[in-house]
C-alpha cells in the first residue's frame, strides 16, 4: 500500500517536473545566450495555454494546438526580440528587468482583456482517461505532457549540439564578441534563441492546459519554478535547468505525501535553499558550461 503511494507520488512529481522543465529550459537558454532574465517567461507560457483554450473553444482537440502554440509564441518571441530585447542587450541590468517586467504586465493583462478573468478548462481525448500500470493510475493527459516534454527536450538538445545554428548559439553564449568576429550573425541567432526559448515555454503552456485549468495569472508560479530550476541547474545550463525542474517536481509531490500538502511549495523551495547553501553554483554548475 505505502509502496503504491510512493510510486504514485514519484510518477506525479516526475511528470509535473518534466513540464516545469520545459518552461525552465527556455529561460536558461535566453539567460545563457543573451544574459537577459526574462521575467515575462511564464506569461509567454500562458499565451500557449490560451491557444489550447482557443482550439478547445473551436471544437478542435487541444492536442493539435501544440505545434501552433509553439509557432505562434515563437513568432511572438522573434517580434519581441526585434522590438524590445535587441535594444536592451547592453542596457543596465535594471533597465533589462524593467523592460521584461513591462512585457509581463502587457501580456498578462492583454490576455485578461481579451479572454476575461475567467478560468477555462481544456477538453481533449486525453483528459479524464486513465492509464493503469499495476496498482498505479496515471492520468493520460499528464502522461502525454511528460512524454512530449522529454521529446521536446531531446529535440532542443540535438538542435543545440548537432546543428550549425546550435553551434552558433553556443558560441555566442561563450563569447559574444568572439562569435561576432567569426562571422556569426549574432542578431539573427539571438532572435532565433529568444523565439525558441519562449516558443518552448508556449508549447509547455499548451501541455499545462491539458492538465490544469487556465487563467490569466497562471504564469506567475511556473515562472517562479523556472527560476528556481535554472538556479539549481547552474544558471545558464539548459540540461541542468531541466533536471533542476524535475527535482522541484519530485520534492513537491513527495513532500505532499510524506510531510504535508500544505508545505509542498515551502519544502520544494527549502530544498532549493539547501542546494544553494552547499553548492552555490547550482547542482550542475560545471556540466552546464557546455550546453
Amino acid at each position: 500500500m505505502d509502496l503504491t503511494v510512493l510510486a504514485s507520488a514519484i510518477v506525479d512529481g516526475l511528470l509535473m517536473g518534466l513540464v516545469y522543465g520545459l518552461v525552465a529550459l527556455g529561460l536558461a537558454l535566453i539567460w545563457g545566450v543573451m544574459n537577459i532574465i526574462n521575467f515575462a517567461h511564464g506569461d509567454y507560457m500562458v499565451l500557449g495555454a490560451y491557444i489550447a483554450v482557443l482550439f478547445s473553444l473551436l471544437g478542435v482537440d487541444a492536442v493539435y494546438a501544440l505545434p501552433f502554440a509553439f509557432a505562434v509564441v515563437y513568432l511572438a518571441g522573434v517580434a519581441t526580440y526585434k522590438l524590445v530585447i535587441r535594444r536592451i542587450l547592453d542596457a543596465p541590468f535594471v533597465s533589462q528587468i524593467a523592460a521584461t517586467f513591462a512585457l509581463l504586465l502587457l501580456i498578462r493583462y492583454g490576455v485578461e482583456l481579451v479572454a476575461g478573468p475567467r478560468t477555462w478548462i481544456v477538453e481533449s481525448v486525453l483528459s479524464g482517461s486513465v492509464v493503469r500500470v499495476g496498482p498505479l493510475s496515471i492520468v493520460c493527459s499528464k502522461l502525454f505532457a511528460g512524454i512530449v516534454s522529454i521529446a521536446v527536450f531531446v529535440v532542443v538538445y540535438l538542435f543545440l549540439t548537432r546543428t550549425y545554428t546550435g553551434l552558433a548559439v553556443r558560441a555566442i553564449a561563450q563569447n559574444r564578441s568572439a562569435a561576432m568576429l567569426q562571422g556569426i550573425d549574432v542578431d539573427r541567432v539571438n532572435s532565433i534563441v529568444f523565439g525558441l526559448g519562449v516558443g518552448v515555454a508556449g508549447l509547455a503552456g499548451a501541455l499545462v492546459a491539458l492538465v490544469q485549468p487556465v487563467f490569466p495569472e497562471l504564469g506567475g508560479f511556473y515562472c517562479l519554478v523556472a527560476f528556481v530550476s535554472v538556479v539549481l541547474g547552474g544558471f545558464t545550463s539548459v540540461v541542468g535547468s531541466f533536471l533542476g525542474a524535475i527535482i522541484i517536481g519530485l520534492s513537491e509531490s513527495l513532500s505532499a505525501v510524506y510531510i504535508s500538502p500544505t508545505l509542498k511549495n515551502a519544502i520544494a523551495f527549502t530544498v532549493f535553499i539547501l542546494v544553494l547553501l552547499f553548492r552555490p553554483t547550482g547542482l550542475f554548475g560545471r556540466f552546464g558550461r557546455r550546453v
Binding site: R118, G128, F221
Partner: protein
C-alpha cells in the same frame, strides 16, 4: 510671416470666446434646469451605496448594482417613502474599486459631502470593515446585505446592521444538514476530511468546520490546505484522501482549484459518500459550465438558487420583472442587495414617522438606526429563502439562513435543503464511479 502669426492668434482668441460663451450658456441652462426640477417635485432621500464598480470585481459589482437599482426603481414607482411625503430614494454611488482604503474614502465622501442618510454595501468583507468604521465614527447607519465574515458583527458597533447570514451561521446549518443526511442512511457518516484553500476565507471556514463538526460528534480524519494561486496538481492530496477514507469531504475552494480538484477526484476515482462545498468556486459560472460529470452529486452551500422561484411566489413575480428589465436572472448577489434596499425602505418609513431627513439630518440618522434595531420583516415579504429579518444586539439578522444545493446529472444545481425549499430529493450516498460509468 508676422501676418500669418496674427491670424493664428486671432483664430485662437475667437475659439476661446466661443468656448467661454458656450460653457456659460450650458451652465445657465443646466442650473436653471436643476432648480426647476427640485422645485417641481417632492423632496428626496439620499442613500449612499458603496460597491466594487470598477477593478477586479467589476463584474460582480455590476450585478450588485442592478439589484440595488431595481429595488429603488420599484420603491419609487410605488410612491416612494410615504411617511416622508412620498420622497423618492436617490442612490449616490461610491466605487470601492475592490480596495478597503478606497471603500473608507468613499464612505467619508458620501457622508460628509453628499449628506446621505445611510450607507449600504460593500460586498467584500474587508471593504465593509473599513467603510463601516467610518460610518460608526460619523454615527451613520451602515446596512450590509452581502458580506459573510463572522467578525464584522463582533466589533460591538452600534450603527452596523448585517442582513445576510454569516459564515458561522452557514457552518452551523451545514452541520444540521449533515445530521439530516445521516438520519437517512442510518448514521453512515462518521469520518470527515476537509480540504481548503489557505487564504483567510478558506482557513476561517476550515476552522469553523473542524470546531462545529467535532462538537457534533464527527471524527475529523484529515485537514488539508493548499495555496490556490500556485496549485498545479492535486494528485498527492487525492491519494492522501484515499488513504484517510473519509465518508464526507468538505471543500472550500475558488474556481480553478475547484475544477482541478474535481477532475482529479474523478480521474483517481476517489469515492466518498458525499462532498459538501462552501459556495465560492463551486457556484461560479465558469465552474458550473465546465466541470461536467466530475461535479455531479456534489453538494454546495448557497444563499440563493434559480429553482427557488418554484417555492416562493413573491420571488417569482420579482424575478419575472427583473428579467424583463435587465435580461438576466437574479442571483445570490443581486437578490441580497435588492433585499438590502427593501429592508432599508421599511426602516425609512419608520424613521420618517419621527423626523424628516431635511429637518434634522443627524436626528433622522438616529431615528433610522433605532428603526433598524427594532425592525421585524416576515419571510413572506422577502425574496430570499429566509424566515425574515430581525437584528440582534450585535446587528446581525438572526432569521437568515443558507440553502444546500446539489448538482444533478443535467449539470444544474437544485435546492435539496431545507426541506421547505427543496425542489429535489438529495442523491445520497453518491453513486460509485463504477455505477456512473454504466
Amino acid at each position: 510671416m508676422v501676418l500669418h502669426m496674427q491670424r493664428k492668434v486671432l483664430v485662437a482668441v475667437a475659439i476661446m470666446v466661443v468656448a467661454v460663451v458656450a460653457v456659460g450658456i450650458a451652465l445657465f441652462l443646466g442650473v436653471g434646469g436643476v432648480e426647476e426640477r427640485v422645485m417641481g417635485q417632492p423632496k428626496v432621500i439620499k442613500v449612499g451605496v458603496i460597491l466594487p464598480l470598477t477593478g477586479r470585481l467589476a463584474e460582480t459589482g455590476e450585478d450588485l448594482k442592478r439589484g440595488i437599482e431595481f429595488a429603488v426603481y420599484q420603491i419609487n414607482s410605488m410612491g416612494g417613502v410615504k411617511n416622508c411625503g412620498g420622497a423618492k430614494i436617490v442612490v449616490v454611488w461610491g466605487d470601492s474599486q475592490a480596495r478597503p482604503e478606497r471603500g473608507a474614502a468613499e464612505a467619508e465622501r458620501l457622508i460628509v459631502e453628499e449628506h446621505v442618510v445611510a450607507l449600504v454595501g460593500a460586498y467584500q468583507s474587508a471593504v465593509t470593515k473599513t467603510a463601516s468604521e467610518v460610518a460608526e465614527r460619523y454615527r451613520v447607519p451602515f446596512l450590509n446585505p452581502d458580506s459573510t465574515s463572522p467578525t464584522l458583527t463582533e466589533r460591538g458597533y452600534k450603527w452596523f446592521f448585517r442582513i445576510t447570514p454569516h459564515d458561522g451561521m452557514f457552518v452551523k446549518q451545514q452541520v444540521e444538514f449533515v445530521n439530516w443526511l445521516n438520519k437517512r442512511c442510518g448514521g453512515c457518516i462518521k469520518r470527515i476530511a476537509i480540504i481548503h484553500e489557505d487564504s483567510e476565507w478558506g482557513t476561517n471556514v476550515a476552522r469553523l468546520w473542524e470546531k462545529e463538526f467535532s462538537a457534533a460528534g464527527y471524527e475529523i480524519v484529515d485537514v488539508i490546505s493548499y495555496h490556490a494561486p500556485t496549485v498545479t496538481s492535486f494528485d498527492a492530496e487525492v491519494e492522501r484522501l484515499k488513504r484517510s477514507k473519509p465518508d464526507l469531504l468538505l471543500v472550500a475552494s475558488y474556481v480553478h482549484d475547484a475544477l482541478l480538484l474535481m477532475k482529479t477526484i474523478k480521474a483517481k476515482k476517489l469515492y466518498v459518500k458525499a462532498i459538501l462545498a462552501q459556495d465560492a468556486g463551486f457556484v461560479s459560472p465558469a465552474y458550473v459550465s465546465q466541470v461536467g460529470d466530475a461535479g455531479w452529486f456534489v453538494f454546495s452551500r448557497e444563499v440563493f438558487n434559480w429553482d427557488l422561484v418554484q417555492k416562493m411566489p413573491r420571488l417569482k413575480e420579482v424575478e419575472e420583472e427583473y428579467r424583463r428589465m435587465y435580461g438576466v436572472s437574479l442571483n445570490g448577489n443581486s437578490a441580497r442587495d435588492y433585499t438590502g434596499m427593501w429592508v432599508l425602505y421599511y426602516a425609512l418609513e419608520e424613521a420618517c414617522k419621527i423626523v424628516k431627513p431635511w429637518e434634522d439630518l443627524q436626528k433622522f440618522r438616529e431615528a433610522l438606526r433605532d428603526a433598524l434595531a427594532n425592525l421585524y420583516i416576515p419571510g413572506d415579504k422577502l425574496i430570499m429563502p429566509w424566515k425574515g429579518v430581525k437584528f440582534d444586539e450585535k446587528g446581525q439578522n438572526i432569521l437568515g439562513q443558507g440553502i444546500i444545493v446539489q448538482m444533478m446529472e443535467d449539470g444544474k444545481y437544485y435546492t435539496v435543503y431545507p426541506p421547505e425549499y427543496a425542489t429535489r430529493e438529495p442523491v445520497f450516498p453518491m453513486p460509485s464511479w463504477e455505477e456512473r460509468s454504466r
